[in-house]
């Protein structure tokens, strides 16, 4: 067993420890715990780790032994969609977020010593506001799903007496589940809006039927969970506003160089997830949630989360950055706060800012087109395969993702056979309880990181498997 001192606990050196104890006039550290009821103090050290401290080379070996059981899909990268997809992470992004001045910093409560961090997040907010066509984006939420839940709660606060929220069934099923979990305690009613089985788009008639003066907000995903462009969004927004409700629109940022921004289309609150912007897959987390709105007094007052703003120094000689409008937040407002959020996804927001800076206005459009081109190519190729129905939805535009339906065989078997060839599609839509009609379908996703030969490999593998 390793003897004290441990390198991460410098004052465990006996001579140092003893000197400090002497200063306190005690002989043993246990005396500092004399106010803890004796029966509560563990007699034995806890059973964590391997029962003994490890050297750095031992811990490396130990970890390698476990993590080597994971399979990284490289050739080709996974074609899995469903909220997050495989995207390339530029080296420059990694270089910035591994600066330890950034990653070992705390929340910038002391603005004067944290100007660089504050400016970077101000830039993130500004870049994201441009992309989504709104005025204000907060400093980040945990991820897209919790940003969605917070947006719904924000809408309900703005529309004080309205307790109902409409959510389209074309919204990611896990996002809908999160909205429900976050709402049940405070008694909000979440009502789902059907989708058109033929087109894969939100059923605007069902939406209209469910809108009334109890509804605080309608929540729609643009491009939706099926990868379908909601081409009725303008009408949805108009209709929602007609009933005095707010339009909350969830979008993937990577498509917004090509598509008109949700802000410009009339969204009152925008949400999204920054994963495609250089954050990596991370087995689903961490990511960063995007949440923004217009410069409107009431909307701003109810905005959850941290916000960085520009200001002047006290002598008005210089421009600087600081946290603003903090009276919305839990550390000031306590039970009347707009949210409990404290820690957010600062470093991931920074990564997204670096990524968007690298792309610039032209790059963000080009990457959208690169993805759209691959989607279209794959769609055409896959539509020629026997026993595979592509596209599943008629007359709709697909962006990055689409479902494909396997006929005559179980989709799960096809999926397994592909895995044995190191090709991974998914998620199978039977994974989600409420798409019974799509139980033979799997999503596929195509991004800038997929080459022509990657896609051709998927196509030929499916041809063989389904022959």
């Amino acid at each position: 067993m390793i003897k004290m001192p441990h390198p991460w606990i410098p004052n465990s050196v006996p001579s140092v420890k003893n000197e400090m104890l002497r200063e306190l006039g005690v002989t043993d550290v246990s005396e500092l715990f004399s106010d803890v009821p004796k029966e509560l103090i563990l007699r034995e050290p806890p059973k964590v780790g391997l029962g003994k401290p490890l050297t750095e080379y031992e811990v490396r070996r130990f970890f390698e032994g476990i993590i080597s059981k994971n399979k990284v899909l490289q050739n080709p990268p996974p074609f899995i969609g469903g909220g997050v997809c495989y995207h390339y992470v530029p080296a420059a992004v990694k270089a910035v977020i591994t600066r330890s001045e950034f990653y070992t910093a705390y929340t910038p409560y002391q603005a004067e010593i944290a100007q660089g961090l504050l400016q970077a997040i101000f830039e993130y907010q500004s870049l994201m506001a441009e992309l989504y066509g709104v005025d204000v984006v907060n400093a980040s939420m945990y991820n897209g799903s919790t940003a969605a839940a917070e947006a719904v709660r924000m809408a309900v606060r703005v529309k004080r007496n309205r307790r109902k929220v409409l959510v389209s069934k074309t919204v990611h099923p896990e996002i809908r589940e999160v909205i429900k979990t976050w709402s049940f305690g405070s008694g909000l009613e979440v009502v789902e809006v059907e989708y058109d089985r033929k087109t894969g788009r939100t059923d605007i008639n069902d939406l209209q039927a469910k809108l009334d003066d109890e509804v605080a907000a309608a929540f729609i995903q643009y491009v939706n969970f099926f990868g379908v462009l909601e081409t009725d969004l303008k009408d949805v927004v108009e209709l929602t506003h007609k009933y005095g409700a707010l339009a909350v629109v969830y979008s993937n940022p990577i498509v917004l160089g090509v598509l008109k921004s949700p802000g410009e289309l009339g969204a009152d609150i925008i949400v999204g997830d920054a994963q495609p912007l250089g954050l990596g897959l991370n087995y689903g987390g961490p990511s960063a949630g995007i949440l923004g709105t217009k410069f409107d007094r009431e909307l701003l007052r109810q905005l959850p989360g941290r916000l960085i703003g520009a200001t002047a120094t006290e002598d008005y000689r210089e421009l600087g950055f600081t946290m603003i409008l903090q009276t919305r937040e839990q550390h000031i407002r306590r039970e009347r706060a707009t949210s409990n959020i404290t820690t957010n996804s600062n470093l991931e927001a920074l990564a997204a800012a670096v990524y968007l800076s690298l792309l610039g206005a032209e790059g963000i459009k080009k990457i959208g087109e690169a993805i759209l081109g691959r989607t279209n190519y794959a769609l055409k190729k896959l539509s020629n395969i026997n026993n595979l129905r592509v596209p599943v939805f008629d007359g709709s535009i697909h962006f990055m993702e689409f479902p494909m339906k396997v006929e005559g065989r179980d989709v799960e078997d096809v999926h397994k056979e592909l895995i044995s060839r190191h090709i991974h599609i998914g998620p199978l839509l039977r994974r989600f309880r409420d798409y019974a009609e799509l139980r033979d379908c799997s999503l596929v996703c195509f991004t800038e990181a997929h080459t022509r030969s990657d896609i051709d490999l998927l196509v030929s593998a499916l041809e063989e498997v389904l022959r």
Binding site: G83, A105, A312, G373, G426
Partner: protein
């Protein structure tokens, strides 16, 4: 200590260059296919290039920009960050390196379970170790941060009472000294907050608890040690009072570092516990996040944890969705995995030495307290003759009365001496507060120099208080105007409003 922070007159990224450049090459191999697809998209939904104001920079400009910004930031790798209740301990580099492995970062959340057995095993073991450290039956790392863990705990308590037909239990008891996120989380879960004060000794007032419990009591949210750094020695009595009233106990794990491996929250009577992996378990704070939370439960409440749970059937690791009483999903996917891997490496490295973490962090706090309270103008207010645990709250009320120097002035003067300031003006029940937490990471030498910095500042306060009002001078910028920052006329939450602030900056000509 001599400290001069870097000061770059670094433009906002939108203003960095006048020419159009490229920072990342994107191919146009599929141009014919994208052109076809673009024709299908109705004009109403196509973006026009000129409505997008984004910088167009080369890679080198971007790297220099953000590197310069990083030089105007301050993290634990630069110096001590003694923020109370934030547990800013050192983030070991081996944890960072191993968690950046492609077999962690390049894994899709919908990959087949068979292809992610390694990562599931890591999560499973971490959950098991956390259960051992809290005395819980079950732990999950679903909550993406501490506050979301609090919210999960509150929702579990809510659903537990609802399932028992006790919907009248709408009150959550919370001490005045609690973190602001406690009452905020309770309200999000639909509870009404009932506040209880602290006694002059710094304990939660038991008589006040007795006076407010009823059949409306859903539970109590407590930290132990408290935000005053004091161990709630009557915790077992409090647990009995709440349990006898039909309520449940929620443990806020923000302050666990002081008792890690020594005392277990569930042994104290807590039913549900949240932990911050980015505090106690050494995952970095990222300048504000991402963190990672854990939620642990004992007894009946274990049936209420969010889905899915990483479990093991004796043969393989899998995601368990079949938890009938679960509150549901708190986030998509499975939580913040990368920080969790860092905590796994941290615990695997230390093993039973976690106990030393607690003991040394408590020793550091008391050593600091003993030395710093010898200085004039500094007082403790609550529990003056008690040992502290992970942190100590100093009050500069006396100094303020005698010199006009505030806790904020002292904090800014610490920045000038190369230290990050502690948490200030919290907890609210201590006037002119500095809440100091040193963790096990700080050396005796550093603690001594922090005390010296305080000594220098206090001496200056009595001699030349005006000088302190001008602090900080050695940081990249001087004190900022909070009125300009927040007034509707000048508030500037994004670049498009920058002229609002710019117009009031004095140039040499004006």
């Amino acid at each position: 200590m001599v400290f001069r922070q870097a000061k770059w007159d670094e433009p906002i990224i939108f203003e960095l260059s006048r020419y159009r450049k490229q920072g990342l090459i994107v191919d146009d191999e599929f141009k014919e296919y994208s052109e076809d697809a673009l024709k299908e998209i109705p004009n109403d939904y196509l973006r026009t290039q000129d409505d997008l104001n984004m910088p167009s920079l080369s890679e080198v400009e971007i790297i220099r920009h953000f590197t310069r910004l990083s030089q105007m930031a301050y993290g634990i790798d630069v110096g001590p960050v003694p923020l109370g209740s934030c547990t800013m301990k050192y983030n070991p580099k081996i944890c960072e390196e191993l968690a950046s492995d492609r077999r962690v970062t390049d894994i899709h959340p919908y990959q087949d379970e068979e292809t992610v057995q390694g990562l599931l095993e890591v999560i499973y073991l971490l959950q098991k170790w956390l259960a051992e450290l809290t005395g819980a039956d079950i732990c999950t790392i679903q909550p993406p941060a501490g506050a979301s863990g609090e919210f999960v705990g509150a929702l579990m308590i809510k659903k537990y009472h609802m399932d028992r037909g006790e919907e009248q239990r709408t009150e959550m008891i919370i001490p005045d000294s609690a973190h602001g996120s406690n009452p905020a989380s309770a309200v999000m879960a639909g509870f009404k907050v009932v506040r209880v004060p602290a006694t002059p000794e710094g304990d939660t007032d038991i008589n006040a608890i007795k006076a407010v419990v009823s059949d409306k009591t859903a539970g109590i949210m407590l930290t132990n040690p408290s935000t005053l750094g004091l161990f709630e020695s009557k915790i077992l009595e409090i647990a009995d009072i709440i349990h006898n009233a039909g309520g449940l106990l929620y443990y806020d794990g923000a302050n666990l570092n002081a008792i890690l491996g020594l005392v277990r929250p569930c042994d104290m009577g807590f039913d549900v516990v949240h932990l911050n992996l980015h505090k106690t378990f050494a995952a970095p704070h990222g300048g504000g996040g991402p963190g990672a939370g854990a939620i642990c439960a004992k007894g009946e409440l274990k049936n209420y944890i969010p889905v899915p749970l990483v479990d093991y059937d004796g043969r393989r690791y899998y995601l368990k969705y079949d938890i009938p009483r679960s509150i549901g999903r708190i986030t998509w996917f499975y939580g913040n995995i990368v920080p969790a891997v860092k905590s796994f490496i941290y615990l695997a490295s230390l093993g039973p030495l976690v106990r030393e973490v607690a003991e040394i962090s408590v020793l550091n706090t008391n050593y600091f307290m003993k030395k710093v309270t010898k200085l004039p103008g500094i007082d403790l207010i609550y529990g003056r003759d008690r040992w502290r645990k992970h942190e100590v709250v100093l009050s500069f009320e006396k100094l303020h009365k005698e010199t006009g120097v505030t806790a904020e002035d002292v904090a800014k003067a610490l920045l000038d001496r190369g230290f990050h300031a502690p948490t200030i003006y919290f907890p609210l029940i201590v006037p002119e507060a500095h809440m100091v937490e040193l963790t096990e990471s700080e050396t005796k030498e550093n603690i001594d120099s922090l005390v010296n910095a305080y000594a220098e500042i206090v001496e200056l306060a009595y001699k030349d208080p005006e000088k302190l009002k001008g602090s900080p001078r050695n940081t990249s910028i001087s004190r900022l105007n909070n009125i300009v920052a927040n007034a509707l006329k000048t508030v500037t939450p994004s670049f498009k409003f920058i002229s609002k602030v710019r117009s009031i900056i004095k140039t040499d000509k004006t």
